[in-house]
Amino acid sequence: MVLVYAESPQGKLKKAAFEAVTYGRQAADAMGVQCAALVLGAADNAGELGSYGAHEVYQVNNDSLNNFDSQVAASVVSSAAQKLGATLVVMMHSSSGKALAGRVAVRLDAGLVTAVNALPTISGDAVNVTKNVFSGKAIAEFSISSATRVVSVAGNTFKPVVNGDAASVQTLDVDVPQGRYTVKEVSTMDGVTPLPEAELVVSAGRGMKGPENWGIIEELADILGATTACSRPVADVGWRPHHEHVGQTGVAIKPNLYFAIGISGAIQHLAGVNQSNVIVVINKDPEAPFFKAADYGIVGDLFDVVPRLNESLKKYKAENS
């Protein structure tokens, strides 16, 4: 069977969890086996995992699982996989998933491939999966040789597909060890979609000339319901916070729509954003390398173009809401 571990940060499953279970169900169908989903600790909407394809939904109830500790979670997920007889364990390629996948692979003596971008191809015992490597400049196909396999699913890659009814959640009894990492405080920005999950991203760079000019960018993001991002130089000089830096050494993103405003498009920046579905580049320099990666290009002064774009978008939103 295929076991999908669905993370429920702050007690709630989010889109990436439904992407993972959609992937798990499709992989299970290809392998001719059942798909089960697992949640640890609180998960208010766990039953919805059934709607996205899980045949069974299991929950390990233990308050200590409400906070993430990679060591404890690895033990519980691995025990569940063994108890349920999973031959493929599917996880999310999230910040917690990245701390967990390697641990579970070791415990299950399993081959691991993280951030897979396609369903596995199966021929006999061989399971092959692909992932983006070199920050999106190439794709690598891995062959997993072990009897149990662990994969994590790249975010914003598999659209969640509803194909059934919500499932009833069954309690799974597995041992929960004592952790050695204690969470003291969790703070999240309410109402803002985190960059790795964002469908719409508005990003700006040095062309903005100074942090005081970001109002038009924030307005554009507000109109679209987009998440703001920035280039590395802008984060390095402190015009914008580090967590907004997208690129090869920042956050790698894969939105449906990416606006690059006043960003020249250095290869390191492109590496982090080139998997965006649609890229719009606004730059006054017609030679800016970013135009080569763009779907739509506007050569012009961003201080003229962006306010005009904001007005056009407001008009569109008013007419189409």
Partner: protein
């Protein structure tokens, strides 16, 4: 505080990516290799800061052939005390993790540092694997780490926010932007690095369980459509009707 900083050798960020004719192997000819930026800029520098504030030793750990020595020397020039190089190709994440775990079982380590991921395979796998083999807590994406004796308070990035947690040594962490500020080696550091030892050791046995069989290039995108800067209605129309992304 005994600290081990695990460092990887990666192509420079601007290097073109190319493969052998049959697309089965990465072709590094003519490519300049560097220390993986997350390992060098954040993991190594934070380890050095800990050493400077409360004493201890910073050892670099690397799996690779002699061609890696230049990258290791740079880490020594920035300030690491010594280095261990496992003389073998890093054939898979499981293989590399096993080398780290075997070394740490024989040499007591208080803090095991990793970068949050490498910029070539973008896996974020080795740190978690090594921590599991060593039965150590592992805190990923650390952007701040403060030590009080053996107690560490760590801030880590989570989706859309931050988490603060506490752990005692020994533990492992992966370093993200913010954990430290990049340092440049100075002339004294470069001179001193030449006298610092790189201890070359043989690899421990470990099976690969997932290996690359083939590479491919992503589909090249289509041509850019230019839109006049005074016609943003047209851009919005195309985003809505043509690209269907609004």
């Amino acid at each position: 505080m005994n600290m081990l900083v695990c460092v990887s050798r990666t192509p420079e960020t601007t290097a073109p990516v190319k493969f052998s004719a049959d697309m089965s192997e990465y072709d590094g000819s003519g490519v300049n290799f560097i220390m993986n930026p997350y390992d060098e800029w954040y993991a190594l520098v934070r380890a050095l800061e800990v050493k400077e504030s409360q004493g201890g030793k910073v050892t670099l750990f690397h799996v690779g052939g002699a061609e890696s020595d230049a990258v290791i020397r740079k880490g020594l020039a920035i300030g690491a005390d010594d280095a261990v190089r496992v003389d073998a190709a890093p054939s898979s994440s499981m293989f590399v993790a096993k080398q780290i775990a075997e070394y740490c079982k024989a040499n007591a380590i208080d803090i095991l540092f990793f970068g949050k991921e490498t910029i070539d395979f973008n896996g974020a796998e080795v740190g978690a694997m090594a921590a599991e083999m060593l039965d150590m807590p592992y805190i990923s994406f650390a952007i701040d780490m403060q030590l009080d004796g053996n107690n560490a308070t760590i801030t880590r990035e989570i989706e859309g926010g931050k988490e603060v947690g506490e752990v005692q040594t020994p533990f492992a962490l992966s370093a993200a932007k913010g954990l430290a500020e990049q340092r440049i080696a100075n002339m004294r550091g470069i001179m001193m690095s030449k006298r610092k030892p790189i201890n070359v050791i043989p690899a421990a046995d470990a099976a690969d369980k997932a290996t690359v069989v083939k590479y491919a290039y992503p589909d090249a995108g289509g041509d850019v459509v230019y839109i006049e800067p005074d016609n943003m209605d047209e851009l919005v129309r195309r985003l809505a009707e043509e690209a269907k992304v609004l």
